[in-house]
Each structure stands twice: as structure tokens, then as C-alpha cells.
Subunit: 341 residues, 2 copies
Amino acid sequence: MSGKRKGLGRATVHDVAKLAGVSSITVSRYFKQPDIVSPVLRERISEAVRVLDYLPNHAAGGLASTRGRIVAMVIPNISGPIFANTIQSFSDELSRYGYQLLLASSYFSIEQEERAVRAFLGWSPAALVLTSQYHSEETERLVAKATMPIVETWDYEPARKPLQVGFSHGEVGRQAVEYLHGKGYQRIAFVQNSMVGDLSALDRRDGYIAAMASYGLNPWVFVPTQADPFEAGKQAVNSLLLRKEPAEAIIFANDNLAAGGMLAGQRAGMQFPRDCAIFGFGNYAFSEMLLPSLTTIRPPAKEIGEVAAMRILQALGEIPTDEPVQHLNLLECELIVRESA
Amino acid sequence: MSGKRKGLGRATVHDVAKLAGVSSITVSRYFKQPDIVSPVLRERISEAVRVLDYLPNHAAGGLASTRGRIVAMVIPNISGPIFANTIQSFSDELSRYGYQLLLASSYFSIEQEERAVRAFLGWSPAALVLTSQYHSEETERLVAKATMPIVETWDYEPARKPLQVGFSHGEVGRQAVEYLHGKGYQRIAFVQNSMVGDLSALDRRDGYIAAMASYGLNPWVFVPTQADPFEAGKQAVNSLLLRKEPAEAIIFANDNLAAGGMLAGQRAGMQFPRDCAIFGFGNYAFSEMLLPSLTTIRPPAKEIGEVAAMRILQALGEIPTDEPVQHLNLLECELIVRESA
DNA sequence: CTCGAAAATGTTACCGGTAACATTTGGCAA
DNA sequence: TTGCCAAATGTTACCGGTAACATTTTCGAG
């Protein structure tokens, strides 16, 4: 009847303006910079907004003003114990300033990541957040061409151009070796991640290898073939401990593997750390509840989200840029010593 | 210099159209319904898109066509073991059809939920997903007025109007009692969630109470004052077991509480389930790794995400509506019997 | 009381697409 | 060859805001 194509029950700035007896732009200003609208009109507009139940249309606003209030993030996965905290803190920080989070997961696939980035750029987000420094060439190209702030998280390689907020995975590998070597262990093995595509995990392995070499020890990397982390951990324990010269300590690429390995060993009658020291990565929720509780390294997941959000808000001019604090983007992992090593 | 306000390096349909020697709408059609564009033009447009590195602007498209490809979801939290799987499967399912996920968390606060809903509606999402059936009045009003499909997840109360995909929390409480009663336990206590605002958890408690009554047993609800679930669990165990007539079995509102309680009891020299049966909810990742492993109920987190996505895609006409399958939206929880009860 | 600058408000055009309707082209029966 | 309908393509206007510039109002100094 009405002839309007859409807007069934949805008021626009124009409707509000008409009812308040002002021009549309004044209504727009009422929302963006209330202080430059006179109190009288503010009151009239406020009333009209209430009466019409007006909700601003962000898509239209973003289109007209070059600055949407969406921030897009591509993360390997949402479930799983690793990234959830980063997403959470990132989203919370942003929402405080009225930005909304557009999210997609890549499952460590650079192709899926590329697809997500492509789709996201179509929303001209205010900023784009990626995970890790490893992307497809096409992603690199798209990102290089984009004009909004880009942040890479969970890695820190200052040689690269995009802003990075994370930590050095190589350093994590080194830290684990240092700790175990300090406790007198010599035959220290490393169990790699069964998750293909997690390139940063390989950096941790490389850090391990380098550190071992620096101590004059032989690196000993086990690559599980099982996909399931529990099974993979079991496989590793069987291979590394049931032999003439068993490993004295095992660094697992993550806590899941470590837990799987430890349980398998216990079922086979071993005791930890008596028979072998167990070292994880990630500090998953269950790690402190295992028996023995798991010695591990806590990545600064939550902090990454917070700092990334902060950097973005600064780049967008929402919060003042600090005095030139350098390298605050390089975050620290925390060594958590428990019973297993 | 150029005079263009934005579009620095970003091509539009119009640019593509000019280069391909067609009109803009033809380019638009090339993306939406390629089959109605002749092969010759398709080829020319495709080439122009490649040359200009054109990316469609979804905000503009959505504005013009009433149908954005964003789906908004408000969830209590992203981290935490509960909802991550729902988000993950939901997002995955949607992205398969080119929809993107806009996400916000409410932390079980209906005020925060309302704020998120308000912001989301401004993006005119293709659909809106909420968690639980409990919202503020204003949220109810906004939702009732909205025209896009709305889905409530993690609850199932068919009396309400919005489409619901979830399970009956009351039934979960009942199921736990049934199981424990079947094993001969009489003094069965229930430890409530310390997370205020999680109203669905109270439904589980009510289900417990009703079931106890139906068996002629006295309900026995403990309300922890500690916020930290581990501490709360500890508190509960102390209160329920260190007394003349201790509980024979304890149903905890979630696995975190159960784990905390069990560890505290073990530290105090108790053995489970010998001294008391322990029953959880959630089937968190660590539950099978506890000693004894935790008997619990697995909520259909992943399934909720999948089914919710499916219903939305059906409502949007992306996938065919099945033959009238009734009640597929009521999902089943799975009783997972392990060692602790 | 007049004038001028600052503050408040309005006008116009346009952001980048697409719906609705208009027009042209193509293919085939008569 | 003509005529007619369907397929292919184009024209125009508009989605709901806001930038840029234009105009009016306010108000204190002179």
C-alpha cells in the first residue's frame, strides 16, 4: 500500500527529522556530535527518536562516511582452548568503543583465510586482524593494498610490515629447553603438533632445535602421524619411552598432546615425572587439574586481544596514542612450573 | 588531486562496467545471477574485474537490496568451554553460504545483551541469534518488531514465539536425578552455579527439585557464595560432606564446579565415588582426564549451532525447507557415564 | 544600534550498489 | 521477410546516511 520498498516499521533519519522539524543532517549530528546541536533541538530530536523508535542504520552510515564501525578478525578456530581468550578480550575492548566484531575461522588454512579476508574487505571494516604471519600471496597482496589498519596477532616478527602483537614462538621453544636443561635433563625430545598448517608451532620446534644445539645436545623431534591429539600423544610416548635409551624429558607442542601422552604412559605403568619429565604449551584449563599437574607455558592470549584492540583504537583515533612506547607489542609468555617437570 | 573522496585504489561496479563496456547493473547481475548474462559479456566483465581488482562492497549491496549477508549472534561468552562449539559450528555453516558472523558477548547480562541487540539491528542483519529465552523487556520489544528471522538457542520452550533451538534444562536436572536414583542414591544434593545471570542453570536446578520430589526425596540445594568455580566447588564439598549425614551424591551445575569440588575433597582425603558420587554438566574437555573421570551430561553445543544455522538458511531461502519435520529443534543431551558416579 | 565572527542549521550531492521498469536484441514460426 | 515473444541489457531512482559547502542565527565589541 504505502509504496515504500522496505522500511516496514523502521524509521529513518529523515522521518525523525521531519517529526522533529529539523533537517536530516541535524539528526545525524545529534548522534555524532551532540554538543554542536542546540539544547532545544536536541530535546525535540530525542523525543522524535523515542516516538519513532529510531535505530541508526550502520550500513548506510558506513557507506556514506568511509568509516564503518566493524572490525574483522580471522582466527584459526573459535572453539579450542587457544584463541577463545584472544577473541573474547579483543571483542570486549572494541565493543567498549562501539565497534562490532566480524569473525571467521581459517582452521589454519591459508586458503580459507584468504577467502575470509576477501569477504571481509567487502565490508570495508575499520580494521582487520589476522592470526600469525603466514598467509597466502593473494592475502598479502589484498592486505598490502587495503587502507585500514591491519594487525597480525600471535606472532612477533618485527621485520614484517603489518603491525604485530604477539610473542616469539622460537623463544618459547628455547625457554622450555632452558628450563629442562637447567634441571639437569639431557635427552630432551620434542613432539610436534599433528595439526598441519599451524606454522607457528613449527617455529617453536625450531626454537627447540636451536636451543638444544646451543647446549651441545642432540635435537630429537618426533612427528606423530595420528591426527587426534590424544592418540598422537600416546604414539609419541610409546615411541620415545619404550626403547633402550628413553627420553628423559618430552616437550609437547601443546597441552593436549602432553595430556594424551601422560595418560597413555600412566596406563602403561609409568610415573611422571619420575620416569620422564613432561612439558606442555598452552596452559589449557585442564592442565592444573591433571595428576601430576602439567608444567607448561602460558601464551598471553588475553593480552594479545587487549593490546591488538588498543593499537587499533589508537590507529582509529579513538584513544590517544601513548608516548612512544616501543615494543609493547612483544608480549611475554609465562613459564608455569607445576609437578610434571 | 583526483577529487574522489574515498575509493583510493578501490574499484566500484561502475568502474568495472565502464572498462567492460557495459552498464553497472549488468556487472551487478554478473555476480548475483551469472546465468542471465551472455557469455561474451561475462568474459569481458570477468576480465575487467581481474584487471581492476574489484571487490564488491557488501555494505552498499545490503543497503540497496534489503538483504545483507551478515548474521548477528549474541552469546554469553566466547571463551569458556560451553558456547565456543556452538559459535564455531554456527559460523562454519553460515560461511558456507557466504554469510558472515557478527558476534558480541553478554556475560549473562540482559543489559549487555540488549545493548548488543540494539547495535546489531543497526546493521540490518539477515538474521539474529540470541542465547536462552531470558531477555530484557526492551530486547523482547526490539526483537518482536524486527523483521528478520530470530532464533533463540540453548533453550527449548516451545510456548514462546521465536524459533528455538536447544534442549530442556529442566530435563537435564531430571535426568541426573533419575540416573543417580537408579544407582540407589538417596541423599542427592545439587550445587548451584555461582554465575549470576545464568537463568537456564536455574532451570536445571528446578528440574532436579521436581525430580527429587517425584521420587519422594528431599531436594537439597547448596548455593555457593564464592565466585570462582573451583573455590565454589570446594565450599560445596566442605558443606555437604563434612557433616553427620553427608550427601551420597552431588550434582554440580557444571563440570568446573564438579572438578573443584572433587579436587578439594581428594585433598582432604576423600575418595570418589566411594565416599560420594560426583555428577557434572557440560562435558568439558578436561572431564575425561580427571581421576576419577567425571560422569556428566554433554549438551548438544555443536548441534545447536548447526541446526540454528540450518533453520536460518531455510528461513532465508538458501536451502530448501524440509518436509515438515516437527520438533527437530529440540535436541538431546547425552548422559556420559564415567567413573565418578 | 551596527557589524563581524562564531555557532547553529540547512542544501545538495553522493557513497556503491540494486529494484523496478524500459528498451533493445535474438531466434524462430508463419 | 515479417511478427512476436523471450532473453539480454540499459535507465532511472533510491536505499539511509553523511561530507562539503551554504546560509542563517546568535551575540559581544565597538
